[in-house]
């Protein structure tokens, strides 16, 4: 598929469709603190040989792909648990803390969908490890999470096809924490007052 999406895009879209468009449609990337820290974190997680501890084998930086969904990406950690049969558990590392919104869970679910297609297995749950709180959160891939993940993929792909950038999100709290704030200028563009501005320009 030509318009393959990166799995990270799902989280962007879930957070704010405009953020997704700025990054994946306009490719206007602002490499600020957030992304720089994210990179450092991943450097630590990447690399390294698989290791075996008890019944669990740990593979790091596993490459993922789904033909059906047109997705590619990478998983921080894959746990292969053989204590009772053969269980695959995708694990994602996040910088912050657990969020009430599902952004991180949606991204993890997309990883699971890829993995299911690649290995022809069913995956029931995964986990997200939050650095800030040093907590591991289990995530169950129930049907509504799966459906929402797939819907985001369809919507995101439509935005890329049309090449459009949606208006800023109404949820201003998100903008405060958004790494693309400078580039996006949500406050200046939430409402288009260019017509009034131009009228004044011609009034000497």
């Amino acid at each position: 598929m030509d318009d393959t999406l990166n799995i990270s895009a799902i989280q962007h879209y879930a957070y704010c469709p405009r953020q997704f468009a700025l990054i994946h449609v306009e490719q206007a990337w602002d490499d600020n603190r957030f992304t720089a820290e994210g990179l450092l974190l991943h450097r630590r997680v990447d690399g390294g040989e698989p290791e075996q501890r008890g019944h669990i084998r740990y593979e790091r930086a596993v490459l993922l792909k789904s033909e059906r969904l047109g997705l590619i990406g990478k998983m921080d950690l894959l746990e292969i648990d053989t204590s009772a049969g053969y269980r695959l558990i995708p694990v994602e590392y996040k910088r912050g803390r657990s969020k009430t919104q599902d952004w991180d869970r949606l991204q993890l679910c997309a990883q699971a969908l890829c993995l299911e297609e690649m290995r022809h297995v069913d995956i029931e749950e995964g986990a997200i490890w939050y650095w800030e709180t040093r907590r591991r959160e289990e995530v169950r891939f129930h049907s509504s999470l799966r459906a929402r993940t797939e819907a985001i993929i369809v919507n995101a792909r439509n935005l890329i096809r049309n090449g459009t950038t949606p208006p800023p999100t109404e949820d201003r709290k998100r903008c405060k924490a958004c790494s693309l704030y400078e580039l996006c200028q949500p406050d200046a563009l939430r409402q288009d007052h260019s017509a009034a501005y131009i009228r004044d320009l011609f009034k000497p």
Binding site: A28, A188, D192, S194, F202, P204
Partner: protein
């Protein structure tokens, strides 16, 4: 808003720049003249015989730090450009608009309107300090009329006509705004400038144009394809379009303050055998320091309603232009001096 990063001007001749870990080292022969961390740098401008190691060039473009070369006299020569930023959709729209006379006019008209409005505003401000000067007063009225014409013209040619008249009117009273009589100005002369005022104007325009080029590249627009300045090889048309907004309110005011406050004197200029006038080394240094200081001064952006340093104006306008081309805002809001 984005941070205004420092600009490093290398005016010393026979210098060599290279990279040492995360810093930039300036050398002359074997002597180290300076060393700067790259972190706080946005741009490096080299004047005359300055050489730069290829590794430093690569490093700078990777870090998004601009590097450009000028002749000793400030004429632009070249710019180091790293891999193109990815925004192909935006550029494609830009090219379509540039090919479409109606779309081009929509933007060009507003840029010229801002240019004329700003010309009028600066004269009006000076008028307050000059008491009752009938010539300045007349120019203010004429420029108001030009502004109305800009709103009404239908074709690019007539827009250029109105713009030309407005520029003549504006420059015809520049001498009146020069407080000291050491400098004579009899209209705009370029390539090469034949008096000090023109030499100074050309130099400052060239500096701001480079900032516009960098700002446009930064938001993914092609600085070489303009809406008003049509394509000519090697000419950054869109950057020159943007420059129009900044001439009167930023560039010319800086020129006038340098001359009126006597920061520059006649000895800061030399006339060559050809009749061309240029800044001396010392003169150029004075200008660059003043230019850099002016860039730090803050003002409220009339559209964004946010306090920004003057040096970020090119970036703000490039960003707004990109947003307009992408369809976020109905009209492009050019910068006006309030």
């Amino acid at each position: 808003m984005k941070k205004l990063l420092n600009t490093l001007y290398i005016t010393r001749q026979e210098t060599y720049l290279h990279k040492e870990r995360e810093t930039i080292v300036i050398k002359q022969k074997d002597e180290k003249l300076g060393q700067f961390p790259s972190l706080a740098l946005g741009n490096i401008l080299c004047f005359g015989r300055v050489s730069v190691s290829p590794f430093l060039m690569g490093y700078l473009s990777e870090k998004g730090i601009g590097l450009s070369f000028f002749t000793e006299y400030g004429r632009f020569l070249a710019r180091v450009q790293g891999p193109e930023s990815g925004n192909v959709l935006l550029r494609r729209s830009q090219y379509r608009w540039a090919d479409d006379p109606d779309k081009s006019m929509l933007v060009a008209r507003l840029m010229i309107a801002a240019k004329v409005a700003n010309s009028r505003t600066v004269i009006q401000r000076d008028l307050r300090n000059h008491g009752n000067n009938p010539e300045l007063k007349q120019a203010v009225d004429k420029l108001a009329a030009s502004l109305r014409s800009v709103q009404q013209v239908k074709t690019a040619d007539s827009l250029m006509g109105v713009e030309g008249d407005a520029a003549n009117c504006y420059f015809s009273v520049l001498q009146q705004r020069l407080r000291k009589d050491h400098f004579q100005f009899n209209g705009r002369v370029r390539r090469p400038p034949t008096d000090s005022v023109n030499a100074l104007l050309s130099f400052i325009y060239s500096m701001i144009t480079q900032d516009c080029v960098a700002a446009l590249q930064g938001v993914g627009l092609d600085p070489y394809v303009g809406f008003l300045h049509r394509d000519r090889p090697g000419r950054p048309g869109l950057a020159l379009d943007l420059l129009e907004e900044f001439r009167a309110g930023w560039a010319d005011r800086l020129v006038l303050s340098l001359l009126n406050r006597q920061q520059l004197k006649s000895k800061d200029f030399v006339t060559e055998a050809s009749g061309a006038v240029r800044l001396t080394d010392d003169g150029r240094k004075t200008v660059l320091v003043a230019f850099q200081e002016r860039k730090q001064e803050e003002l409220i952006h009339p559209y964004l309603q946010e306090k920004i340093p003057i040096g970020l104006l090119p970036h703000c306008q490039a960003m707004l232009l990109a947003r307009h081309i992408r369809g976020d805002i109905e009209y492009y809001p050019p910068w006006t001096l309030k």
